[in-house]
Symmetry: C2
Subunit: 404 residues, 2 copies
């Protein structure tokens, strides 16, 4: 008898549920304290004003907001994206070089389609965004980790990695990096390293895909200028409405070097025609009609308080052998337990104790057991964060005791 699963492509046979999404399903259990999902806090959005805007988009502009639009994205939305990027530290982005995508995951996917051949290498931070790793798998790319420390990419290590890959004759499709408050590490790449990374990639002729969802969630209020600010012709810079407004509208974008724009947007169009017109108009209104920067300041303050509460709780309740990067922005605290601890096992014990996080194995292309874990503080209030850390403490501390 024919096996229906013979219909699957080679890449589909290898595709895995991301551990984050697995945990996301578990995390829906209302009895669990979830430190797993990186959901933004939405309850303080100006929902009444958004309601009036949403209604207007139907009653006054419905024949436009519900209709097909341009493949590259609406002109107004592309202008709104440049306003967001100006606040990120790219003051002069050209709307004509912006391609609107249905979320920035789709922009990462489009970068693979436009720039990578099967078998190519994508150089990544280790740890890196799990969603990007899954996309790289489906495009049959090899994610190669390059060295990082508490401040993100280590330039010398990157130079070495690119030199080695060139010597091996590998085609490097691009470097994928999240320089500001990275998911999952929270690391912030300092300005000096950004200049070095930009120069090293130019020297090696390697394109950079710079993913910047968290740049404005800076606890000291000052975003560090993206790599794209000074290396426009060698960087595809990705932005999104997900963390400053809403992930549910699924609106992201890419600022693309002029020489590559046409193919990038045709690749995007081939995948989904264009992002939701209605979502684009809603996002445009958020940026042009509302005090969006006031909202970002407000939620950033909230995230800062939550991060501080989480850090205190970890210090109080967890073994001092737990090292972590103190968040300066973004949504995540990244912790490293002593070598020998398997945080996947800790996660299972933690779920029994009533709290859940994402184990580090999800965020690395390197196989094997990992002693790292990610705690998300964006969507949980301080009291619950503390309770989550307390519930996890026995699992964490006993696993460390056993590993010693």
């Amino acid at each position: 008898m024919r096996n229906l699963r013979d219909h699957l492509s080679q890449r589909a046979v290898g595709v895995k549920q991301s551990a984050v999404r697995d945990v996301f399903d578990i995390a829906m259990d209302p009895n669990l304290v979830s430190l797993a999902g990186g959901n933004p806090w939405l309850a303080d959005l100006p929902l009444d004003e958004l309601g009036r805007i949403a209604s207007d988009l139907m009653t006054r502009f419905g024949t436009e907001s519900l209709q097909y639009g341009p493949g590259q994205g609406a002109e107004e939305m592309r202008a709104a994206a440049t306003a967001v990027m100006a606040a990120d530290g790219i003051p002069d982005a050209d709307p004509d070089l912006v391609v609107i995508t249905p979320g920035s995951q789709a922009a990462i996917d489009t970068a693979c389609r436009a720039f990578a051949n099967p078998g190519d290498v994508v150089v990544v931070e280790d740890p890196t965004f799990v969603g990007a790793l899954t996309t790289f798998t489906t495009w049959q790319l090899e994610a190669v980790a390059t060295g990082t420390d508490d401040h993100g990419l280590v330039p010398a290590a990157l130079d070495e990695t690119l030199t080695r890959l060139a010597a091996e004759g590998r085609r490097v499709a691009f470097l994928y990096t999240i320089p500001s408050f990275a998911n999952p590490s929270g690391a912030l790449l300092p300005p000096g390293r950004r200049a070095e990374v930009g120069a090293i990639c130019e020297k090696h002729g390697v394109l950079i895909v710079e993913d910047n969802p968290y740049g404005q969630i800076a606890f000291d209020g000052e975003p560090v200028a993206p790599i794209a600010a000074d290396h426009r012709d060698n960087v595809v810079h990705l932005g999104t409405m997900s963390k400053i407004f809403s992930p549910g509208v699924r609106i992201g974008w890419a600022l693309v070097p002029a020489a590559l724009k046409r193919e990038f947007y045709l690749c995007a169009e081939s995948a989904y025609i264009h992002a939701s017109t209605y979502s684009q108009m809603l996002s445009t209104a958020f940026v042009t009609q509302l005090d969006w920067q006031g909202h970002v300041r407000h939620v950033t303050g909230l995230y800062r308080e939550r991060a501080a509460a989480l850090v205190d709780a970890v210090r109080e309740h967890w073994d001092p052998g737990v090292e972590f990067i103190t968040p300066q922005g973004g949504f995540f605290l990244w912790a490293t337990l002593p070598t020998g601890v398997d945080t996947l096992e800790v996660m299972h014990r933690g779920i029994e104790a009533g709290a859940v996080f994402v184990p580090g194995a999800a965020f690395t292309p390197v196989e094997g057991t990992h002693s790292t874990l990610r705690l998300a503080y964006s969507f949980v209030d301080a009291e619950k964060l503390v309770e989550g850390v307390r519930r996890l403490a026995p699992a964490v501390n006993e696993s460390i005791a056993r590993a010693r």
Copy 2:
């Protein structure tokens, strides 16, 4: 000096602006009568009621409608999709086997990701949907045309094509077909042929991707049951809100055989996480709170009148050497001019005369000049349709005279 365009993938170098989108740009010129774009008619939607719903989705449900949701699509949206499919002629679709996508273009793209390896064949009708052809190109697939007539796929020709491809040792990823009121041909595959096509593909072990955007736009009011109704385990059935409600919300779906669902939805998730939560809730409300089938009946009546006016005008103003398929539903009239006519040339002359259509070359994987063209009647009122046909008449008729 380094050439930035070396960064492009092999597939991206080959990607072309679809002729439809090129013409779409031209068609924005308000002085032109556009018979090019297949936009649905939206002005008769219940926009006031939709405005109230849209407002509610913000003020009452904003923290949910603007938040991340499940990768497979919201449960309520998947149930709404099964209600639409019931009206299409699939009475018992299981919501658990539905994957919501940001438009059905994204579902076609996901089918390629999930089922096709580079170098595989996709068997297509000739002519077929231009957006699908572009997607196949970016996945490095070869679109192989199989014979059609005025009633769509010719079963014997399909059997022959699949036999030949098997003899050549080619892997056929799937048959891509639009059985009801196809884009661009308008052809309606009769029930008997549907049974034959289903059986032939089962015999050859070839999966079917059945795209059904127009099934309910049936001028006699009776949709013909999709192939998926009787061949559930061998058909990935695609549906969409685009033609019955709104293309701007970008909501489509795939009904997937149980054995292939998990990989299909993980492939979808890797490309864009999930479709807009807000768009899903809006589409769900359209199906559950409004008289959506009344709206479909109303616009179908409008399309029927417009198609009739277009047919009359073509008969009156164009050379009798123009053959066409009389539309029984859908958005398009497909015309074939005598051999030797190049409709790309006719298009350019037509634009000078103030009207535009899409030349047949856009819709076929076969290179060369083509004497076919597509007229869209969905978005233009009867008077303007007639005016468009009149403006095009000299270009059409003189090209035929020259070809004789």
